[in-house]
Each structure stands twice: as structure tokens, then as C-alpha cells.
């Protein structure tokens, strides 16, 4: 259990090295970054990334960690390439394996999984990233813990971690399903929440996505009987 509740000790700015890049979807990549001053994070925490131009101009953004804190010495950040994204565009178009990148973290201690069970994770689009950190960590640290992920994507091209979603996950395609799909379609709804079968009296909800998705998911959880204080949301502001 100790590995589930490390004290958050946010680090200083440090220079990490990119060791692996995975193209998850046409607009999403995951970056594995080795850190000289690695600190175990809580699943759900984020890092700040800072870019510096030769003349000193800087740009900063926050990205959720996608990996389990059991991956010692490294973190994985999964980044959605925004159309006009100054930092996400750099990470996608310029950064290659072997490059160095400045970052610090881990930060924020509210939208984090400390081993609460049962847990219901509700993810919309790239909102699945901090939830995947929770799911990956559960599988390694508490494999018997009750955790379900309801993951809503518009189309197959948007499904991140598709081969890794596993038996804990119910995926729904809200606009276009792949040919032959026999699973759920349409928006996240009460029937899908019921299918996840997490007891609202005991469960904790983690909902992450756009503001619209998080608001919709939180409303469904309230309607299903989860108390407001057991519903945590994280909303993607525009990041870029």
C-alpha cells in the first residue's frame, strides 16, 4: 500500500531524456521520458513541460502522467496534438528519441487515485490519460481492486490505448463505430453507468475530459446516486 500513497514531493525543474515515442492515434503520441530526479507520482498527477527558445522565450503546459509510479526512473506523457498548439505541436513535430526536455512535477493531489475501491473512471477523448495511469497502476499494485473504465470516443481514430483497455473497460463510440463493432455506441449514458456495476454508495468517480464531457459525466454519476463529494472531475482547459 505504501507505493499507492507516496507523499507528493514536487520536484524542481530538471532535464529529462526522451527514450521512446509511440504514435497512439493520428493526433496523439506517448513520450517516455527518463528523469534524473524521478519521484514516484500518484496516478492522476501531472507534470509541467517548459520549452525555451535560444533568445529566452518560453512556453509552458501541463500534461497528465499516463504511466504507473511503479515504472521507476521514467514517466510517460500522452499528448493530444492541438490544431494551434505551441507546445503540443513541438512535442509532436520536433521531439525525437534522444532529445532532452525540461520538466518538473509531479503536481496536484486531488484528481489522484490512492487506492480507493471501488472506482469508476469516466473518460472522454484524451481525458483517458490520467485514468490510464490509474488503471495501469491498479493492474500492477492491486490487481484484485474493483475498477471500471467507461471510455467515450467519437470514432476509432480517437481511441487511445486501444489494445490495452482490457476487461475493466467499456468503450463507446459516440459518432462512428468501426465495422463489425458489437459494443456500445452513442454518448455515455445511464445504461452504461449501470453496466459498469460500481456501487454508488461505496464507489469513487473520476471523470476527465472536456468541460462538456466532465459536466455530463458528473451529472450521470449524481443521477446514479453517487454523492457529490465522491465525484472528482478534471476538465481540459485549452492547453496547446
Amino acid at each position: 500500500m505504501e507505493r499507492l500513497t507516496p507523499a507528493p514531493r514536487p520536484g524542481r525543474w530538471q532535464i529529462g531524456t526522451v527514450t521512446r515515442i509511440v504514435q497512439e492515434t493520428p493526433r496523439v503520441k506517448s513520450f517516455r521520458i527518463a528523469l534524473p530526479e524521478w519521484t514516484p507520482h500518484l496516478p492522476g498527477q501531472h507534470y509541467d513541460v517548459r520549452l525555451t527558445a535560444p533568445d529566452g522565450y518560453r512556453a509552458q503546459r501541463s500534461y497528465s502522467v499516463a504511466s504507473s509510479p511503479l515504472d521507476e526512473g521514467a514517466i510517460e506523457l500522452t499528448v493530444d496534438r492541438l490544431d494551434d498548439g505551441e507546445v503540443s505541436g513541438y512535442l509532436h513535430d520536433v521531439l525525437v528519441v534522444g532529445d532532452r526536455i525540461e520538466l518538473r512535477g509531479p503536481f496536484a493531489a486531488f484528481f489522484v487515485w490512492r487506492g480507493e475501491t471501488p472506482a469508476l473512471l469516466l473518460g472522454g477523448g484524451s481525458g483517458v490519460v490520467p485514468l490510464m495511469a490509474m488503471l495501469r497502476h491498479k493492474r500492477r499494485a492491486l490487481p484484485d481492486a474493483e475498477m471500471r473504465l467507461l471510455y467515450s470516443v467519437r470514432s476509432p481514430e480517437e481511441a487511445i490505448y486501444r489494445d490495452e483497455l482490457g476487461a475493466e473497460t467499456l468503450l463507446t463510440y459516440s459518432r462512428a463505430a468501426p465495422p463489425g463493432w458489437r459494443g456500445a455506441t452513442g454518448r455515455l449514458d445511464a445504461a452504461l453507468l449501470a453496466a459498469a456495476a460500481i456501487d454508488p454508495a461505496r464507489g469513487t468517480v473520476f471523470a476527465c475530459g472536456s468541460h462538456g464531457f466532465a459536466e455530463h459525466a458528473a451529472r450521470l454519476a449524481l443521477d446514479a446516486g453517487f454523492a457529490p463529494e465522491r465525484i472528482r472531475t478534471e476538465r481540459f482547459g485549452p492547453t496547446g
Binding site: W13, D55, H211, P228
Partner: protein
């Protein structure tokens, strides 16, 4: 770390100088008004709404929505800075100065804990919320504040990171000392001055 250069980064999005000088370090310009909330959005009707100032005060004061409307309102043009790195420049709220509200309650302490519907709290030194630097706002850009943005009423302290401008405000508790609120207990800075980049605990 001062001399690290990101290979191949030129900073092509550099804002014009008049914008850049209004952006605190690490912030970028955002044209919209993003919503960040840690839980479900509370629906707070104005019927039955009250704002209470209590704690270390000469007398506890409370205003109903109607009584609050009779207080002196001010237009507040300001720039706002969210700790998630976006800033919105030249926006306009309307509200009642905390100078007015606190004077009525005769504060005896040094700090304030803002309390909100939904359970959110945030702490502020009295020095940061007096002298025309903090308001209870009920309008944004000429419209009533929407529930997403804290309506019907939110705290507005534009010179600090925007998590200090607590949404769905219910009361202001005057305290003898500083006490962390919600985000301040969850990794964020006790004061949150964007110009000093006071984002997290160890900043």
C-alpha cells in the same frame, strides 16, 4: 537550468509586446474563458442565497440576494491568470468591493477563508483582499455570472491566480492566522501571486 535550450524550438507564437508585458511568467494568452472545477457544478438559486462574513469579526454580517443588490457595485476591468497557464486579458466583471463587506463586519483577524457551495474553500491574507483589490462579482461582460463560472456570485481577486477567485461563494470567514483551503491542501501555493509564479507548494 537557466541555460537549457529546447532543440528546434523558436517560439513562433510570441505575442505582441503590449500583450507580452501583461502576461506573467509561464502564462499564455487565451481568448475564451475555460472552466475548471474539481467536482460537479453546484446549482445555486438566488432565492435563499446569502453571503455571510463571520469568524474573527466585531459582528457577524449576512446579506440576502436582495440586500446584496442594494450595496454599491463597481465595474472591474481586469486581466485574469489561471494556474493551468492561460491568461485572459481585458475582461470585465461587476461586483461589490470586499472593502465594503468587511468594513461592515469589523474584521479582527489577519486572513480570510472563502467558503463556497459545493464545499470549496480558499485562503487569502486580508491584505490581499482590501484596498480595492477584491470583489464579490455577480456579472461578467454585462451578463449575470453563469453557474459554470461561479454564478450567481463568486469571489474576484484578479491579482492572484484564479483559483483564489472562488466560485459559488457562500461566506467569508475571518481568521487569526493562515489556514490552507482546498487547492492549497492539494499541492498549490498558499498565496498564488502569478508575477512571482507561486504555483505550487515549493515555489
Amino acid at each position: 537550468m537557466g541555460d537549457f535550450i529546447s532543440r528546434g524550438f523558436s517560439g513562433r507564437r510570441r505575442p505582441p509586446q503590449e500583450v507580452e508585458r501583461r502576461l506573467p511568467p509561464g502564462q499564455h494568452l487565451e481568448a475564451g474563458f475555460p472552466v475548471l472545477t474539481a467536482g460537479p457544478t453546484p446549482q445555486v438559486p438566488t432565492a435563499g442565497w446569502t453571503l455571510t462574513v463571520d469568524g474573527a469579526v466585531g459582528r457577524t454580517r449576512s446579506w440576502s440576494w436582495e440586500q446584496f443588490q442594494a450595496l454599491p457595485f463597481e465595474d472591474v476591468p481586469c486581466d485574469i491568470h489561471c494556474v493551468t497557464k492561460w491568461s485572459k486579458l481585458g475582461t470585465r466583471f461587476r461586483g461589490v468591493s470586499l472593502d465594503t463587506l468587511l468594513a461592515a463586519a469589523e474584521p479582527r483577524g489577519s486572513h480570510l477563508l472563502a467558503r463556497c457551495h459545493g464545499g470549496y474553500t480558499t485562503n487569502l491574507p486580508l491584505a490581499d483582499v482590501t484596498g480595492g483589490r477584491a470583489w464579490i462579482a455577480t456579472e461578467h461582460e454585462g451578463e449575470p455570472l453563469s453557474p459554470d463560472h461561479g454564478g450567481p456570485a463568486r469571489l474576484l481577486v484578479p491579482h492572484l491566480y484564479f483559483w483564489k477567485s472562488a466560485k459559488w461563494i457562500a461566506g467569508l470567514r475571518v481568521l487569526d492566522g493562515d489556514e490552507p483551503g482546498f487547492w492549497e491542501s492539494n499541492g498549490y501555493h498558499m498565496r498564488g501571486d502569478p508575477w512571482r509564479e507561486e504555483r505550487y507548494w515549493n515555489d
